[in-house]
C-alpha cells in the first residue's frame, strides 16, 4: 500500500524559507547610520569602562568620551596641557606641589555639581585600586582644601604632572553615585571596591557623552550628554565597534563606518586614491628598539661596548623605515619625535658597515653568535616583530654577527624580557603619558634599563643627568637635558632606537577632527560633520 502523502513538512519548510526571505528583505541590508551617528571601527582590547581601571587603547577612547579631566590636550597636540575641569593651575618652584582651581559650573550627567571631593575620590580610588593605571600617581598625595581646589603633592619633583593629568584614567567620577554602587577610595580598594560592574553599565561622569550600552566584545554605544559643560559634540550618537583590521578596510570603503583606527600603512596605501576617504599617516608615539644585554651573566658577548657599537652601526635604519611604510620615521633617540626633549633627525645614527666591522674587530670577539628574543606573534601598526627580527638578523650577518632568532609568543617572550634574560631583545615602548620623564625607564637601574641588564650604578654620570632632567621644572632646560641623555645613550647605552611606525587614521571625507592623540587615540567629541 502506498503511504498517504504528508504535506506538512514541505509546507513548514516553505513557511520558514518565506519568513526568512521576508524578514531579511525588510531589513534592507543597510546600516542605521545617519548623519549624526558616528561609527568608529577599532580592534578591541577593551576590559572595562571604569576609568580608574582602564588602561587600554579602546578603553581610553571610551573613558575620554565619558569623563572629564582637570587638564586636557587640544586635538592631536600633546605638548601643551590646557585647562578643562581646572580653570587654572600653579606649580611650586620645586615641582612637588600642584594646585588646581576648579570651575564651579560643571555638572555630572545626573545634574550633581562636580566638586573637589569628586576629584579627591577619583584620584585616591585610582591609587588604591592598584590597577594598571595606578602608577600614574605613584608617590602623589591628593588633598582638597576647599570645594574648588585640589592639591597634588609629590615626594620628589614631578614636572610631568600636568602631562599625566589629561590621561582618561584620571577621569573624574561622581563620587556619591560610585560610592552608592560599591566604590571606595580607601586603602584596600583593590579588594573592597565593587563599582566596576556598575560603571560598565552606567557612566557617572561629566564628559561629552554618556554610556548607552557597553560590551567588551561587540560594541560600545554613547549618547550625547545633555548637561555637558563644553561645546556640544556634533554627533549625537557614537558607536565604537570591535572590528578587526581586514574588515575595517572593507567597511571604510563600503561606507559602513566613518573612522577606521587599525589599518596598517600598507592597507592605508591602498586607499590613497579614494575620493571619498581621507587618510592620515603620521609618526606614531611607539618606539621600536633593539637592546644588547649588559649583564655578563646573560651573555659574555653582548655587554661588550665595541660589540654594541658594531650593532649600532651595522643596522640599516633606512630599510626599517621603508619596511614600516607610510608615516614611519627613524627615531633618533628613545623619546618620540612629538614629545619634549626629542632629538632632531640630524642626530640619528646612520649605518656604517665599515665602522661596524672595525668595532667588531676591536671587541676581540671572533664570529660572535647571539640569540635575539622578540614577540613572534605580535604585530603593531602593521609591522610584524618577526619580520623586523629577520631584518636585524640579515643586517648583522653582513657585519659578521650571527643572530639566532629565538622569538616566542608574546605571553612567553614578555616574561623573558621582563626578567632581563634576553641576550638581544627587540621590543617597543609606548608612552604612558606624553612627557620625557616616561623615558627615564631606559636609564641604569630603571624598568627597561634592568631588562637590558643595566644595573643601578653602571653609569653614574648618566644616572645623575637623569635625576636632574626628571626634576627640572623649566621645560626648555628639561628638553635640553633629555637630548643630552639620549645623545649619551646613543654612544654608551645598550639600546638602539629603530623606528616610530606610522599611525594611520582613515575617515570618510565628511568627517573633520578625526585626529590621533597619543594619550587617548581619538576624541570622538572632537569629530565634526
Amino acid at each position: 500500500m502506498v503511504a498517504a502523502r504528508r504535506p506538512y513538512p514541505r509546507v513548514m519548510a516553505g513557511v520558514v524559507i518565506a519568513a526568512f526571505v521576508v524578514l531579511t528583505a525588510c531589513g534592507g541590508g543597510s546600516t542605521t547610520t545617519t548623519n549624526h551617528v558616528l561609527v568608529v571601527d577599532k580592534s578591541f582590547d577593551m576590559k572595562t569602562a571604569d576609568p580608574q581601571r582602564e588602561f587600554e587603547v579602546s578603553g581610553g577612547i571610551v573613558a575620554k568620551a565619558l569623563y572629564s579631566t582637570l587638564l586636557t590636550f587640544k586635538g592631536s597636540d600633546s605638548a601643551t596641557p590646557v585647562p578643562a575641569v581646572a580653570s587654572s593651575y600653579t606649580a611650586s618652584a620645586d615641582a612637588k606641589t600642584y594646585t588646581f582651581k576648579l570651575r564651579t559650573d560643571i555638572k555630572f550627567s545626573d545634574g550633581t555639581a562636580l566638586t573637589s571631593a569628586d576629584v579627591l575620590f577619583s584620584f585616591n580610588r585610582l591609587i588604591n585600586i592598584k590597577g594598571n593605571p595606578s602608577f600614574l600617581l605613584d608617590g602623589v598625595t591628593v588633598s582638597a582644601p576647599d570645594t574648588s581646589t585640589v592639591v597634588l603633592t609629590s615626594k620628589s619633583a614631578n614636572p610631568a604632572i600636568p602631562f599625566i593629568i589629561p590621561n582618561p584614567a584620571l577621569g573624574i567620577v561622581n563620587s556619591k553615585v560610585v560610592k552608592a554602587h560599591g566604590g571606595t577610595d580607601q586603602p584596600g580598594a583593590d579588594k573592597s571596591d565593587t563599582a566596576e560592574s556598575f560603571l560598565n553599565t552606567t557612566s557617572a561622569g561629566s564628559g561629552p557623552y554618556t554610556l548607552k550600552s557597553f560590551s567588551t566584545t561587540s560594541e560600545v554605544d554613547l549618547t550625547a550628554n545633555p548637561t555637558y559643560w563644553g561645546p556640544k559634540p556634533y554627533y549625537n550618537t557614537v558607536v565604537i565597534r570591535n572590528i578587526q583590521a581586514p574588515a575595517q578596510l572593507i567597511n571604510i570603503q563600503k561606507g559602513s563606518n566613518e573612522i577606521a583606527l587599525d589599518l596598517s600603512p600598507d592597507q592605508a596605501s591602498t586607499l590613497s586614491g579614494s575620493s571619498s576617504l581621507q587618510v592620515k599617516a603620521i609618526p606614531g608615539p611607539n618606539v621600536f628598539f633593539l637592546f644588547s644585554n649588559n649583564n655578563a651573566k646573560i651573555s659574555s658577548i653582548t655587554p661588550n661596548k665595541h660589540f654594541q657599537n658594531a650593532i649600532r652601526y651595522g643596522l640599516d635604519y633606512a630599510s626599517f623605515v621603508q619596511l614600516a611604510g607610510a608615516g614611519a620615521i627613524q627615531t633618533p633617540g628613545v623619546v618620540p619625535s612629538m614629545f619634549l626633549g626629542a632629538l632632531p633627525q640630524s642626530a640619528a645614527v646612520s649605518r656604517d658597515v665599515t665602522k661596524a666591522k672595525a668595532e667588531l674587530a676591536a671587541s676581540g670577539i671572533a664570529n660572535p653568535t647571539v640569540n635575539l628574543g622578540f614577540p613572534s606573534d605580535f604585530t603593531l601598526n602593521g609591522i610584524s616583530f618577526s619580520t623586523l627580527a629577520q631584518k636585524v638578523q640579515a643586517n648583522l650577518q653582513e657585519v659578521g654577527i650571527k643572530v639566532n632568532l629565538t622569538g616566542s609568543p608574546i605571553s612567553v617572550a614578555l616574561a623573558d624580557y621582563r626578567a632581563g634574560t634576553e641576550q638581544l631583545g627587540l621590543w617597543l615602548w609606548g608612552p604612558d603619558y606624553p612627557d620625557p620623564n616616561d623615558y627615564l625607564v631606559f636609564l641604569p637601574g630603571q624598568l627597561v634599563g634592568l631588562r637590558a641588564g643595566w644595573a643601578a650604578g653602571a653609569n653614574p654620570t648618566l644616572e645623575a643627568l637623569g635625576t636632574k632632567a626628571g626634576s627640572t621644572t623649566d621645560n626648555t632646560a628639561r628638553g635640553q637635558l633629555f637630548q643630552q641623555i639620549q645623545n649619551q645613550l646613543n654612544t654608551d647605552g645598550p639600546f638602539f632606537p629603530l623606528i616610530q611606525p606610522g599611525q594611520v587614521v582613515v575617515a570618510t571625507k565628511g568627517v573633520s577632527g578625526a585626529d590621533y592623540n597619543p594619550t587617548w587615540t581619538l576624541d570622538v567629541s572632537g569629530a565634526g560633520g
Binding site: V2, A3, F20, L23, T24, A25, C26, G27, G29, S30, T31, T32, T33, V37, V39, K47, T48, R53, F55, K130, G131, N132, P133, S134, F135, D190, E196, S197, S213, T216, T217, S218, E219, D221, V239, R241, N242, I243, Q244, P246, A247, I250, N251, Q253, K254, S256, N257, D377, P409, I410, S411, V412, L414, A415, D416, R418, W429, G430, D432, L447
Partner: protein, 361 residues
Amino acid sequence: MTSAGPAANPEIQPGWRLRLPSRPFVRFLGRRLAALFLLGLGITFVAFVLTELVPGDPAAANLGQRAIGDPAAVQAFREHYGLDKPLPIQYGLYLQHLVTGDLGESEQSHRPVRTDLSEYGPATAELAVTSILIAYLLGITLGVVAAVRRNRLTDQVLRVISLGGISMPTFWLALVALYVFFFKLGWVPGSGRLDPGLLPAPHVTGLYTVDALLSGQFDVLANALQHLILPACVLAAYNIGLLTRFTRSAVLEVINNDYVQAARAKGLPERTVVLRHVLKAALPPIITVGGLAFANVMTGTVLVESIFSWPGIGQYAFHSATTLDLPAIMGVSLFVAVVYIVVNFTVDILYGVVDPRIRVA
C-alpha cells in the same frame, strides 16, 4: 480523585502505552554522565598542567608595561587570581569552586568566566547551529542528487563543488565571501551580529534571533538573520562538502538493494523511494559525520569569528590563550568538552531512532 488510566487521557489511545526508559538505556545514560564527569575532571587537570608548563607569566601578559614593574600591582594581581599559592592548592581551590559552579574570574575581562561564557557562548551557538543546519540541508540534498545522478554531469559538478568546499581554507573563504557578498554585491552586512547602533532584544537566551522573536522585535530579527547568513555559510562550506561526499556514498550503498527495487516495483514514485526508503537506510553514517561536522564548526569558529568580528567563544579562546588567562582557558575547555559529549550522546541516541536494529545493549 479520578483514575489516571489510558481512558482518562485523550492523548493515550487504546493500544498505546507509555514507555519508560529501558534499564540498558538508563545504564547507558549513567555511563555517559560518569564519562562526562571524568572527562571534565581530566580536562581541567590537563589544561591546568599545560598552562603551568608554558614558560610565560600571566602577570606579565596581563599587566601593563609600567604596572609589571610595580611590585604592589604585581602582588595585588597574583593575590587576586590566587597565583601566589602552590599549584596543587590552586588546582584544589579551582575544583572546590567548580563544584559550586564558580569557574573563576577571567584575567583579561575581570569578569566571572561563567558570565563571559554566557555572553560568548550564545553567539557561537547561534552561528554554529545555523551553520550545521545549512550544512545538513545542503549537504544531504546535494549528496542524494549526486548519488541519484551518479556519473552524470550533475554528479561531476557536485564533486567539484564538494571537493572545493573541503579544500578551501576557511579564513580565505571568509575573506573572499566578505569581499564579494558584502563589499561588491552588498547583499549582506559585513561584520558583527547587528548593525551599528542597533541594540539586541532584551536578553533571554543570548541568541539574538530567538530573543528578537520572543520580544516581537522583527527589525532586530531581520537584522540578526542578515548578519548571520554569511558567516554561517562560510562555516558550513567544509561540512557541506563533507556531507555531500558521505551522503552520496551512503546512498549508493543502498540504492540498489532488494527492498528498494521492491518499492520501485510496487510503483512508488522515485522521489518517495529515495526519500523514504533509501535515505532512511543511509542515515546512520550521515549522522556519524554529524559529530565530525560539529568538530569542524568548533575549530572553524576561531577564524570565522575573527574575520567577521563575531564575539563568540572562538575569539574568547584565542585571547585567553594568548594572555595565559588560566581561568578562561579552563572555562572554555570545559565548555567545549561538555558540548562535545552532549553532541556525541545525541548522535548515539539518534542511531537508535533512525535504525531500530541498533539498540543500546
